[in-house]
Symmetry: C2
Subunit: 335 residues, 2 copies
């Protein structure tokens, strides 16, 4: 489907579900972006879920988002159960504003929902020449080290920095693979890789459904578990959101709003060394790239490079949409 | 050896090496602390190295440490090639001061050296009821994803948060195992686990000597590589220190000062939710701890808990020192 047609279709669907025109556009743009970077688990696959939650009044289509100024660096945003895209979009813009003014911005969001890829927000800060951390929590998917039940989300760590070329954007979940990939495998009847998830009785499984009912494994055992816990504290406890396994699964749990939390930290990278920063970050990347390559590698990529190239490659192409999702869209548009 | 005797011996050694009384005490306390938490690779094992570097004028025993105020939240510290303990001690105290005043502190240090364990500094902020990140870079030990040569250090990510009880302190290197473990395996003629290191020609090796001559692998392949890169940018590029594999190995490279960089971010955890923070962090830990345990686990520990218990266990015991190190100390004291 042509991008502009898809955009207006998605926009239309959200407008029919009571979102404002502006909020509908924000959501459409982020969903399309997920398709363009081929993070399909964060794209159109989720459209029906968002609409279902709006219909059940678990996402507030007309949120009164309150921004509380704590200092010129620090803000808190009560998202009023807004769809995650909208509150995170407001929050990253506030964090950018704060860092531009003072050198550092800290913006916390509570009462929000799933916001797509963290890299969407990191990219915006990097495009304004800022360094950035984005943290968000997510529904239980990972067992803490020593436990046999999920509690942490796949809790990503996202860090971005301007390079003068393609943004350096690390966006890494603390699970071995994204939950979205497992959901997509389940939806399409595919197997998942070996060693990334356990079934309910604690055994390794390649069956997507069993994995969804079981638990995913964190990267590097106790290290990844600790990092996931850190993200739960930063985006959950600090912001005043759900935490400790209480974030609701957007697909399965309709007992209340998700109450996801996000935290954005923005830093002016020139604050300490001035213009030298850009010279040194370029040198840094050059030094890594010119290392002798390991077997099977013809080049060394920095985080974000591959995704950026995927985005550029797909930017002027039509977006292919599975039949099942096309049907969902028709259904959602016909309401 | 009794702790107070050991302390005065170390202090005496540093004073003989031209450090001020105050700086000598700071160094002695951090080195003893490393022994008490049984992080022996960061303790007395390094005493001779520090002294060697002072003698070779690579560590400045009388540094003119310059603190530059950028705002009430942000400071930069030029450590003037001070021993790492001293500049990091000054830096974390500045970061604490800044966060106490404004809610957030950001302190960068350049021209510093190896500072021991990141958790030492995190702990100080946590004891002042702050949340904290500590980042430092280190000499090459890890191959970036796709390379067959070391460039990143084992670049730890350290995050601390007050809990009302034992501090939550995550302090995790981005390498799969500590270099110290490989050194120990080499000494004892043991093999190292499969998949943690490459030999010189880029092949996986379980031979400890080959691993020491080759390169260690990051946790979770490209994810850990990205995290190590992030730490290199935060503590190296941002602060105006060495980066991109240019940090000198303190044991082997006497061609110049190390020029290590550190970055501290401190946050008042009550800034968004007030007193609720302490209630919720306690609830968070309780929720994780009460999960059903995996096979082989009788309890779930949070990061920092085990190290704290080790510290408490050793606090009133004599510190046992290998003969080799005792001899080194006598030698250093006789100068």
């Amino acid at each position: 489907m042509k991008k502009n047609i898809l955009r207006s279709k998605i926009k239309q669907i959200f407008i029919k579900h009571q979102l404002s025109k502006k909020h509908s556009e924000i959501c459409a743009d982020y969903l399309i972006k997920a398709e363009l970077v081929e993070a399909r688990s964060h794209g159109l696959l989720r459209l029906k879920m968002y609409c279902d939650r709006i219909k059940k009044k678990l996402i507030n289509p007309k949120p009164k988002i309150r921004i509380k100024r704590i200092s010129s660096s620090i803000s808190h945003i009560n998202a009023d159960n807004s769809i995650g895209f909208v509150s995170a979009d407001i929050a990253i813009n506030q964090a950018i504003k704060n860092a531009k003014k003072t050198g550092i911005g800290l913006v916390a969001v509570n009462k929000s929902g799933h916001y797509g890829l963290s890299s969407f927000y990191a990219e915006q800060a990097v495009n304004k020449n800022l360094m950035v951390f984005c943290f968000t929590n997510a529904p239980p998917a990972l067992a803490p080290h020593g436990a046999k039940k999920s509690l942490f989300g796949t809790n990503p760590i996202c860090f971005g920095v301007p390079t003068g070329k393609i943004p350096f954007i690390l966006d890494t979940s603390t699970s071995i693979i994204n939950r979205g990939k497992i959901r997509r495998a389940y939806k399409l009847g595919e197997k998942i890789p070996y060693g990334v998830a356990l079934n309910k009785s604690g055994k390794i499984t390649t069956n997507a459904k069993e994995a969804l009912l079981g638990t995913q494994l964190p990267i590097a055992s106790f290290k990844g578990s600790g990092l996931a816990w850190m993200v739960d504290i930063l985006s959950g406890v600090l912001t005043g959101s759900s935490h400790g396994g209480k974030t609701k699964d957007p697909f399965d749990d309709f007992t209340g709003p998700q109450n996801v939390g996000h935290l954005f930290i923005t830093i002016n990278p020139k604050i300490f060394v001035g213009r030298n920063f850009m010279r040194e970050i370029k040198r840094n990347i050059k030094l890594v790239k010119k290392l002798p390559k390991a077997k099977g590698f013809s080049s060394i990529l920095y985080p974000g490079e591959r995704k950026y190239k995927t985005y550029k490659k797909n930017l002027n192409k039509d977006i292919s949409i599975p039949l099942k999702i096309l049907k969902e869209m028709d259904y959602l548009n016909a309401i």
